[in-house]
Symmetry: C2
Subunit: 184 residues, 2 copies
DNA sequence: TTTTATTTACCGAACGTTCGGTTATTTTAA
DNA sequence: TTAAAATAACCGAACGTTCGGTAAATAAAA
């Protein structure tokens, strides 16, 4: 029996990578955040820090798939409601503007050269979810993709601003803008 | 006589801090980027890495003041032209979408606790420049500030997207959006 | 000659990683 | 069903390397 579950470990690791980035995340810190000792972390992740980050990125990709893509594609729910649900989830994962995006934290040089492909995949899934919704709401393919990109841009940009200004208002407004963007 | 000028040093330091962040920027790398040896850097910056970063942030703040604020406030030039000039400068400093924002790179936990105040000051000056222009073009104070914020959000967000997707189009579009935003 | 600038050589501390070994748990054999 | 063997999980201590930073020595300017 594991002392700490895989999911608990991933959540701990993610929190450190998000706030410190790849270079800034030390093994001591990562171990402390998971509740395991350094050497035990290496038992779970023989590939070391790199493997831990890969696992966190997979975890995040899965989250995007479950909490954004599937929600947005669920044909049993009215589009307006799907959007609201997905935006709620987005608000939650970013602590309503107080938390940073994992993809952004890992987008420095070191992270990009190690995980660039995975980051790109995750963002594309994010964009695809909004594109699907846009098309369902009557936009043509290109327009739907453009709107999806704009949504991503505003979420990321507002997170930068909210963080730097220590004020969650820009992020809240970005979410509101996105919702308005799909008003009929 | 200095082997390397202050400005050359600052440019070298900034390039490393931008691409690597604070934690990821090692003194060996910083030294190499300036053309000086590590110990010589310490002669110029007795306060070490922290002082180097402070100097780079001051350098950046000065850049924002010269290349954005003053340009935007120059009453001798038509507002449309001022905007165009400032946007051109913004495009240049970000390599038209290929380069990262210093404030973003230093916005991880370590950087925020050390330089949060300075980062906030720099961003506020950025916002103030656009607010001035907006007011001159007939917007009321609050609206002008809101538009300035939106501009910042789109620049930052599009930089994240352009970097991750290795595609400068989102950044170019963000600049275009900003210009359109002040169309009469 | 004195001051300033630069460099070589070096330091303790922290880094990511590995090792040797202990304790649980699971699997196999009797 | 129990005992032995194998495996999985964990941890303290240490590895070699790189970190940020310093002292002493050399080179250049004033």
């Amino acid at each position: 029996m594991a002392k700490v579950s895989d999911q608990e470990i991933l959540i701990g690791l993610m929190s450190v990578f998000r706030s410190k980035g790849y270079d800034g995340a030390s093994l001591n810190e990562l171990a402390e955040a998971t509740g395991l000792k350094k050497a035990s972390l290496y038992h779970r992740f023989p590939g070391g820090k790199k493997e831990m980050t890969d696992a966190v990125l997979d975890f995040m990709e899965n989250w995007v798939n479950e909490k954004i893509f599937k929600v947005m594609s669920n044909a049993e729910v009215a589009p307006q409601i799907r959007l609201k649900d997905a935006l709620y989830n987005i608000g939650e994962v970013y602590g309503n503007g107080t938390e940073v995006c994992l993809y952004r934290s890992l987008s420095m040089d070191t992270g990009m050269s190690l995980f660039g492909a995975k980051i790109e995949r995750g963002i594309n899934q994010w964009l695809e979810a909004f594109t699907v919704l846009g098309k369902e709401m009557g936009l043509d393919k290109e327009k739907a993709f453009k709107v999806a990109q704009q949504n991503f841009v505003e979420v990321q940009g507002s997170l930068v601003l909210s963080k730097a200004m220590d004020n969650t208002a820009p992020f809240a407004e970005a979410l509101k803008n996105i919702e308005n963007r799909y008003q009929t």
